[in-house]
Amino acid sequence: MSLNDKDAPVLKSKINKTELKRQSILLIIAGLYVIYGIVFYYLPLLGWIMAFEDFNLRDGVIHSPKVGLRWFKFLFADGTFPRVIRNTLAMGAINLVATTVTAIGFAILLSEVKNIYGKKLVQTISYLPHFLSWIVVTSIVRDAFGTNGIINEVLVNLHIIDQPISYFMHTQYFWPIVAISNVWKETGWNAIIYLATITAIDPSLYEAAAMDGAGRWQKIKHITLPGIRSTIIILLILNIGNVINAGFEVQYLLGRGVLQPVSQTIDIYVLNYGMKNFSLGTAAGIFKTFVSMFLIFLFNFIAKKTGEERLF
């Protein structure tokens, strides 16, 4: 899984002068890539200095006056930033759980469809929303949940609610709406990998289970789910770092006005305040990177302790 596989056969002994000469072109190109990487990925890390100074454009990144931890203290001086962290983590976790569960459920149900053309058609349709931009998806969601939208229409006609609800006027609906948007957009796409794993499970296992009189549910529980278990865990670990990154587009596009207290995430905070105060924005950005690193290591640690597959 990782790019850096230590198990790859080490063939250093084979590298002689002729090979080195042959490799010279690769070494030059690799050098160019390293320069590119340093400029675009490593140099911005140097910008972290800004979080510890009172940055101004005249003095620049290196020479602006140093203020120590002032901006970090400022972040936690009032309730705004802690609430922003809460929003980010809560929506990230809800989205991760919701999209994972629906993708697995959809993949299992779709794998039970025996009609090959029907299966293909459903799958093709299921990918569609993944290819739409969040601009388009949030516009669709805003229509669907609007007072005249289809959601209200269906609920009123089914007599579940008496009056149409203005979902975007009440804070308690926002997190579920964000989760539903994510589920609508990504279920089919996320199911691809689970479906591929289910297809790769040895069919003789199912035949043997059928011989022993196992029903459909028992086969799913004892063969399919254990079969995709390692995939689920690897993907969870991979996505856990994104819990904190994913909180931008939907929230930014849907969560205006009265929804601010529940919709504002770290990225939106950085955008709103950081563009005016670069030092504060950088401090919030650093905080975000550390939380995401912490989450990755934590989950990797838990996976290791419970004897599951892990990333590193």
Binding site: L3, K6, P44, L45, G47, M50, S126, I135, I192, M293
Partner: protein, 305 residues
């Protein structure tokens, strides 16, 4: 013949519960498709409706009064055709360059004899997890004079660790014998890359091209951050967002919407729907034919060790 059918039936042994499951599952799949397609078809219906009629709402899948005026209106909004041009250019140029850059780097990292193989890998793995963040990135772009240019869309995201991972996994799975025999014939590394490895990698190249292209087509945030001041280079999705925002403000006061709506055959709601459909149309028409590429790409890039 009958015997065969009977054999097949008894072999399948469908009991009552199985039938119930199959029926429920079929209903679920149909519902799933309806939920997925309805919002898109609904937007399509509004976009093809006459504006005066659409303001009464309640259109579902078929317009009551047909009209293509909203589409004509969308193409008259200055930002839309220009944004479309920029987006097409960045999708083509950006995806081609990104594919070339990632493929060459993946090739280098997947050469088993390469001197700094693991060092170079680690260098790029780190970039996956540590990033400077929005503000240092913005300052860097300003310092490099990339803000306010077209190239700010192309250069910063050119190399990405995830795409290298996908490409490298595929290249690692190719037999070494191809390279060895080419080497015996005196081929250098660049010849091996261009003549031997790249032709074999066509499927995974298509996958990566597709991933990058979808990202370019749908991006708007970089346009907002880096090119807000320079409308010459804003993208289609950014222009769509601007349009949706201005329409929202207009419809915000229902009064004014009603007044302008009754006079003209196009109303904010139809223009908005037409713009939305216009931006998604190219990608919706293309993706069903590219399915096998992203399915293979996700599978090799994902979990298969």
């Amino acid at each position: 013949m009958l015997e065969k059918v009977r054999n097949k039936l008894s072999h399948n042994k469908m009991n009552g519960w199985d039938w119930a499951f199959v029926i429920c599952n079929t209903i679920f799949m149909i519902l799933f498709c309806v939920v997925t397609l309805y919002p898109v078809l609904n937007t399509l219906a509004y976009s093809l409706s006459d504006g005066r009629d659409a303001i009464l709402m309640g259109i579902h899948l078929v317009p009551r009064v047909w009209s293509v005026d909203a589409y004509k209106q969308v193409f008259k909004i200055a930002g839309m055709p220009r944004g479309a041009y920029i987006t097409v250019m960045r999708t083509i140029i950006g995806s081609t360059l990104a594919l070339a850059a990632n493929a060459l780097l993946a090739f280098i990292i997947s050469r088993k004899k390469f001197l700094f193989r693991s060092g170079l890998s680690l260098f790029w793995v780190i970039t996956m997890y540590a990033s400077g963040g929005l503000i240092p990135g913005l300052i860097l772009m300003t310092k490099l004079h990339l803000t306010g240019t077209f190239w700010v869309y192309i250069i910063p995201g050119l190399v990405s660790a995830f795409n290298i991972l996908v490409l490298r996994t595929y290249m690692d799975s190719l037999p070494d014998s191809y390279e060895e025999s080419a080497q015996l014939d005196g081929a250098g590394y660049m010849t091996i890359f261009l003549r031997i490895i790249s032709p074999l990698c066509k499927p995974v190249y298509a996958t990566v091209f597709l991933f990058v292209a979808v990202g370019h087509w749908n991006s708007w945030f970089d346009a907002m951050i880096y090119n807000r001041m320079n409308i010459k280079y804003t993208t289609l999705q950014y222009e769509l967002q601007k349009l949706l925002n201005s329409v929202m403000q207009q419809t915000g006061s229902a009064d004014s919407a009603g007044k302008t709506g009754t006079k003209s055959p196009v109303t904010p709601i139809t223009v908005r729907s037409a713009a939305t459909i216009a931006t998604m149309l190219p990608i919706i028409c293309l993706y069903p034919f590219l399915q096998r590429y992203f399915v293979t790409g996700l599978t090799i890039g994902g979990v298969k060790e």
